[in-house]
C-alpha cells in the first residue's frame, strides 16, 4: 500500500531549529562578554542600579500611603532594563503589570508610570509618546494587543517590532496561546518575553506548568524559542536584540524565556513567608543581577569606585525626585470621570455629570457654611 504524497503529512516546518538550547544563554563571565560594547554595559549597569533603587523607593511609598500597592521587580531588573534598552525608538513595549521598571527605562516619567498604582487615574502617560502600552492587570491580555500592533505595523510597511512581556503565571492563560498562534501564522514582528520568576503570587512553577521550559512552547507555534539567564543583563539584551532585529527584518516572532526570581513578595501587601523558604530567596540573592553586572564591569576595568558612586548618586537623585513628587497630592478633576468614556458623552452621561457637579457644589457650599458658622454641618438637602 502506498501513501500518497499529501502535503498534510509533511511537517510544515522543521522542528529542530525551533527548539531552545535547554541551557540558559549567558554572557557574563564568558568569553562572549569580552566582545560586548563597554558603553552598553555601562548603560545597562546605570539603569539596573536606578531600577533597583526605584523598586525600593516605590515600595517605601506604599508604606507612606502614597501608593495603593506596588509589585516590585527587585531581582528581575536585568530583564526589565534589557527589555527597554533592546527596543528601537519606533518599537512598542507591551508591559505586564509588574514591569514599571521597563516602562520607566523606556523613558516614561517615573511618576506617570505609577499613576495606576497611586490611583489618581488608570494610565498616567500617553502611550503614543514613548510607544509603551498601558500598564494593566488582566494577565496575558496585552499579548494579543502586541500581535495586533505588530501586524498593523507590518501591513503599513513600517520597520516596527513589538516586545510583549508576561510572567510565568500569565503563560497559562488562553490569551498567551492565542497571541503566539496569531503571531506565528501572521509572521508578525513581535517578541514575547516570559519572565519566569518562579512564582505567580504564591503558586510555584511546578503547579503552573509541566513543560521542560517555557521556551519549549515555541515549537508548538512554529517559532523559535530561546532560553536566557534572566539575571544576566547583557545576555537578555543580546537575545532580545537579535529577536527584535529578526522581527523587524521579516523573520517573524520569537518566544524568549528569561529565568529569574522575584526577590520581594508579590506586592507590598503580600506575605511571601506563607509559601516559600527563605533559603531559596537567599540562594537567588547571591545571584543578583546588579552584582553580577557590577562584577563584570569592575573585572574589565570599566567601573571604579568613583564610577560606582556616580551611578549610585544618580539613582539617589531619581529616588529623591520620585519621593518628592509623589508626596504632592495629585490634582483630581471630577469631570474626567465622564470625559473619556466616549468621544462624545451620551445624554445619560451628561446628566450624571451634572448630578455630580451639583453634589460637589452643594458639598462645597456646606463646608463653606460649616466653616463660617459656629453650629455643626448644615442640614441635609431634601
Amino acid at each position: 500500500m502506498t501513501v500518497l504524497d499529501i502535503p498534510a503529512w509533511r511537517p510544515r516546518t522543521d522542528a529542530a531549529p525551533l527548539l531552545p538550547d535547554p541551557e540558559p544563554y549567558r554572557m557574563l563571565g564568558t568569553p562572549a562578554a569580552a566582545r560586548l560594547d563597554p558603553a552598553l554595559l555601562r548603560a545597562l549597569y546605570a539603569q539596573l542600579v536606578r531600577g533597583r533603587r526605584y523598586n525600593r523607593q516605590a515600595t517605601a511609598l506604599t508604606k507612606q500611603g502614597r501608593l495603593a500597592v506596588y509589585p516590585s521587580s527587585t531581582g528581575q531588573e536585568a530583564c526589565e532594563i534589557a527589555a527597554a534598552l533592546a527596543l528601537a525608538p519606533a518599537d512598542w513595549l507591551f508591559p505586564s503589570y509588574r514591569d514599571t521598571l521597563a516602562v520607566v527605562a523606556r523613558g516614561v516619567d517615573p511618576v506617570e508610570a505609577l499613576t495606576l498604582l497611586r490611583g489618581d487615574w488608570h494610565t498616567g502617560y500617553d502611550p503614543r509618546v514613548h510607544r509603551v502600552a498601558p500598564l494593566s492587570t488582566p494577565l496575558a491580555t496585552q499579548l494579543p494587543h502586541a500581535v495586533g500592533l505588530a501586524h498593523a505595523a507590518r501591513l503599513s510597511g513600517d520597520p516596527v517590532a513589538a516586545l510583549a512581556m508576561v510572567g510565568d503565571g500569565g503563560t497559562s492563560e488562553g490569551d498567551f496561546h492565542e497571541a503566539l498562534n496569531f503571531a506565528a501564522v501572521w509572521h508578525a514582528p513581535v517578541v514575547f518575553l516570559v519572565q519566569n520568576n518562579g512564582f505567580a503570587i504564591s503558586v510555584p512553577l511546578a503547579k503552573q506548568t509541566a513543560a521542560p521550559t517555557f521556551a519549549h512552547k515555541a515549537v508548538g507555534y512554529g517559532m523559535p524559542g530561546r532560553l536566557v539567564d534572566g539575571n544576566d543583563a547583557p545576555a537578555v539584551h543580546q537575545v532580545l536584540t537579535e529577536a527584535l532585529n529578526r522581527a523587524r527584518d521579516g523573520g517573524g516572532p520569537t518566544l524568549v524565556e528569561a529565568v529569574t526570581y522575584r526577590i520581594d513578595a508579590h506586592t507590598n501587601a503580600d506575605d511571601a513567608g506563607r509559601y516559600r523558604e527563605e533559603a531559596e530567596v537567599a540562594a537567588w540573592r547571591a545571584y543578583d543581577p546588579v552584582e553580577l553586572l557590577e562584577r563584570e564591569l569592575t573585572g574589565r576595568g570599566l567601573l571604579d569606585e568613583a564610577g560606582r558612586q556616580q551611578v549610585a548618586d544618580e539613582a539617589e537623585t531619581l529616588a529623591a525626585d520620585l519621593r518628592e513628587r509623589m508626596h504632592t497630592e495629585p490634582s483630581l478633576d471630577l469631570t474626567e470621570l465622564f470625559a473619556h468614556v466616549y468621544a462624545e458623552p451620551t445624554p445619560q452621561l451628561r446628566e450624571q455629570a451634572a448630578l455630580l457637579r451639583a453634589e460637589t457644589a452643594a458639598e462645597a457650599e456646606e463646608s463653606a457654611a460649616a466653616a463660617s458658622a459656629e453650629e455643626p454641618a448644615a442640614e441635609r438637602r431634601p
Partner: protein
C-alpha cells in the same frame, strides 16, 4: 419595511432594486474599505468563503487578504489583535461568527475595548466594530441563537447598535465603522434575507445611530423595540387594528446611546407602553427601557410599562423556538393587559 426611508426625508434614488440586509451590509463593508485604507475586516471564514452568512462576500477578492483576513479560530485572539491594530491607527471590523461565539472574547471586550479610551484619557481610542449576528428564528442549534445585547449594553464604553431595516443596516454599519468608539454591531440574523428597495449607488441617508425612529405613530399604546423584533411589532400593530387599537412602534436602533427623548415623547403620547425583545426578560435591555420610561413618563402612564420578551430560559432548540420568541399574539395580549378599564 418601506416606512424606514420616509424618516430620512429623501427622495427615492432613480436606481432601486430589491436588496437584502445581507447585501446592504456587504456594501457597507465594501464602501468602508474603499473609502478608508485604515479599515480592516477580519474574522473566521470572512475571506475566501465570504463568511458563513456571506456578509463579507468578495471582499478578499476585491481588497486583498490584508484588508479582509481569515484569522485563526480564536475570538479573544481576534479581538485582542484588533485592539493592537486600533492602537496603531487602524479601524478593525471584526466578525464574530455567531452570538455565543463572541463570549470567548468577553474579557478583551469588557476589560480593554470598552475601557482603553477612558484608561488613557483619550489617547488610545478604540475605533473597533464588532459585528455579531444575533438572535433566533433561523432554526439554529444550541449556541447559535443567543440574544446577548444586555451584556454589552451594560458595559460602559461600548456603543451598541442593532439595525432592523436594510437602510439602517447600511447606514449604521458605515456609522459604526466611522465611529472613533467601539461599537458592538448586532445584526439580527433572521433579517439578513429581508429585502427593501435600496440603491447601492445612492444609499438612503438614515438618522445617526443615537436617534430612535418612530416607525409608526400610534395613539393607543406604544411598542418600543429594536432589531429582530421590529418586524414583529409592526405586524402586531397592523393586526391590532382589528381590535381598534392604534399602536405606535419605536425602533431604538441603538441601545447605547439610548435616545430616551424620542421614546419618552412617543410613550407620553399614548400613556401606555410595551417593550419587546427576544432576549430573556430578566435584567434584559427591556428592563432598562421600562425603568427609564417609567422614570421619565410616570405621570403620563395609565398602566405599568410591560415587557414581552424571551422567557428566562436558555435559548430553546429549533423545534421549540417559536414558543419562546415574542410573537404577534403575545404582544397583543400584553397590550390587552394595559388596563383598558382605566381609559
Amino acid at each position: 419595511m418601506t416606512t424606514a426611508t420616509t424618516d430620512t426625508g429623501r427622495e427615492a434614488p432613480p436606481v432601486r432594486k430589491q436588496t437584502t440586509m445581507a447585501q446592504a451590509l456587504n456594501q457597507a463593508l465594501r464602501d468602508a474599505l474603499a473609502a478608508d485604507p485604515a479599515v480592516h475586516v477580519m474574522g473566521e471564514d470572512v475571506g475566501t468563503l465570504g463568511g458563513v452568512f456571506r456578509i463579507t462576500d468578495g471582499l478578499t477578492r476585491d481588497f486583498g487578504e490584508d484588508r479582509c483576513t481569515d484569522t485563526p479560530l480564536a475570538e479573544a485572539g481576534i479581538l485582542g489583535a484588533a485592539v493592537g491594530m486600533a492602537m496603531y491607527g487602524l479601524r478593525p471590523v471584526v466578525e464574530m461568527q455567531f452570538d455565543a461565539f463572541a463570549y470567548p472574547a468577553f474579557e478583551q471586550l469588557v476589560s480593554h475595548v470598552a475601557r482603553m479610551r477612558n484608561r488613557t484619557r483619550g489617547a488610545l481610542p478604540m475605533p473597533i466594530t464588532v459585528r455579531i449576528p444575533y438572535g433566533g428564528g433561523i432554526g439554529g442549534v444550541e449556541h447559535h441563537s443567543d440574544s446577548s445585547e444586555a451584556y454589552y449594553v451594560h458595559t460602559p464604553g461600548l456603543h451598541v447598535f442593532t439595525p432592523a431595516t436594510v437602510e439602517d443596516a447600511y447606514g449604521m454599519l458605515r456609522a459604526a465603522i466611522a465611529s472613533d468608539d467601539p461599537v458592538v454591531f448586532l445584526e439580527p440574523k433572521r433579517l439578513y434575507w429581508s429585502k427593501a428597495d435600496w440603491s447601492a449607488r445612492e444609499p438612503a441617508v438614515v438618522p445617526p445611530p443615537g436617534r430612535a425612529v418612530v416607525r409608526r405613530a400610534g395613539r393607543t399604546a406604544t411598542l418600543v423595540t429594536y432589531g429582530p423584533s421590529l418586524p414583529v411589532c409592526l405586524e402586531a400593530a397592523e393586526a391590532a387594528k382589528e381590535e381598534g387599537w392604534d399602536l405606535g412602534v419605536v425602533d431604538l436602533r441603538s441601545l447605547v446611546p439610548f435616545d430616551e427623548e424620542t421614546v419618552a415623547a412617543a410613550v407620553r403620547a399614548t400613556g401606555r407602553a410595551v417593550v419587546v425583545h427576544e432576549a430573556a426578560g430578566f435584567a434584559g435591555a427591556g428592563a432598562e427601557i421600562a425603568a427609564r420610561i417609567t422614570e421619565r413618563c410616570f405621570h403620563h402612564l395609565e398602566a405599568p410599562v410591560l415587557r414581552v420578551t424571551g422567557f428566562d430560559i436558555p435559548y430553546p432548540p429549533p423545534m421549540l423556538e417559536r414558543h419562546h420568541l415574542p410573537g404577534v399574539d403575545r404582544i397583543l395580549d400584553a397590550v390587552g393587559r394595559l388596563q383598558w378599564e382605566d381609559d
